[in-house]
């Protein structure tokens, strides 16, 4: 997996915004990551701790919110949430249809950060 490369981007984005806003210390970075992603939270944090040493984000915590997988029924347009492991059995609660398109679950967003 490419946690290291993604972590580097997260750090770059956070530092860029911190610099613009005259931040002294970044405490928490909130991420929104789609449930379809295979990125491991633990490794993101470990790499982040390593990469951020000596920067404004030193000792910052990554708070990762998993965005649920939501699909929209191609038949009746109802949207509903599905577990990743149950995508195979997804059936529309509205009309019983089984053809769906993905609405969310692929997100990779730095949402906001708590700073001092």
């Amino acid at each position: 997996m490419h946690e290291l490369q993604v972590t580097k981007r997260i750090l770059d984005i956070a530092l860029e915004h911190a610099k613009e806003q005259g931040v002294h210390q970044i405490a928490v970075i909130h991420l929104r990551i789609g449930a379809l992603s295979d990125l491991e939270d633990e490794w993101l944090q470990r790499y982040f701790t390593y990469l951020s040493r000596g920067t404004l984000a030193d000792e910052a915590r990554l708070a990762i919110e998993r965005v649920p997988i939501v699909v929209r029924c191609s038949g009746c347009a109802e949207s509903f949430e599905v577990e990743k492991s149950a995508l195979d059995e997804a059936v529309c609660p509205g009309c019983g249809g089984s053809r769906c398109e993905l609405v969310s679950g692929r997100e990779y967003v730095v949402a906001n950060m708590e700073v001092v």
């Binding site: 730095v110 906001n112 708590e114």
Partner: protein, 225 residues
């Protein structure tokens, strides 16, 4: 003690790569090159599928290949041995190609002499799914020996590809395999109702004509625009 404040960011982690990918697509639109990103697990038959496909296309379209590997040039040599323009990119340990790496690969090809370029991505069903390479078409291979349950393990890849090639269908003739093509189609369509599915054997050539015909029509439509 300074007060903690919240800074809104709302920035996509992949935005930088996606910007490079969009610019690359515009450039290739101007230069009239149809770029195809081919992804699959290791050993699914990417290289042979590319060779078979280009064999079908090359009477009408000029084709080149970008080979990506972590650290070897076996595939590029196999492609070049068939007289096809090929560039080898070693990703230096990276598990996927991104748009910047693909742009560097394209710089090593004579694009004015090419209509179609196929990227053979790193063998991996996880990471390449997350990086836009600038291609106009995303194609994946699932081969019969890998099993029909793979959409359950790698839903992201299946959800975003335009085409699925089910390769090594010659294995289905033997009773060795319990691979269920109908079940696979059903699982994949759940994730991606629009996906085109072709059953092929790059070894025997079965089904390759139909797939290559479809690809040729897509490429020509793009080149005519």
């Amino acid at each position: 003690m300074d007060e903690v404040r919240l800074i809104e960011i709302a920035e996509d982690i992949h935005a930088d790569n996606e910007l490079v990918a969009r610019e690359l697509r515009i450039r290739l639109g101007d230069e009239k090159v149809f770029l195809v990103n081919l992804m699959s697990a290791p050993g699914s038959g990417k290289t042979r599928t590319i060779l078979r496909t280009i064999e079908e296309l090359q009477t009408q379209l000029r084709c080149g290949v970008i080979e990506a590997d972590i650290d070897s040039k076996v595939d590029a040599e196999a492609v070049a041995a068939e007289g096809i323009s090929a560039v080898q990119l070693n990703t230096g340990g990276f598990c996927h190609l991104d748009a910047t790496m693909v742009a560097q690969g394209l710089d090593q090809l004579e694009l004015a002499d090419l209509d179609v370029v196929v990227i053979e991505n790193v063998g991996n069903l996880v990471c390449p799914a997350e990086f836009d390479t600038g291609a106009m078409l995303k194609v994946m291979i699932l081969s019969v020996p890998e099993g029909d349950d793979k959409p359950l393990k790698y839903p992201l890849m299946f959800s975003l590809c335009d085409v699925l090639l089910v390769n090594k269908i010659d294995y289905l003739e033997f009773d060795l395999s319990d691979f269920d093509v109908a079940k696979l189609r059903e699982r994949v369509r759940k994730l991606n109702p629009e996906i085109e599915i072709f059953e092929i054997s790059a070894k025997t050539g079965e089904g390759v004509g139909e797939w290559a015909g479809w690809l040729s029509r897509e490429a020509k439509r793009f080149l005519a625009d």
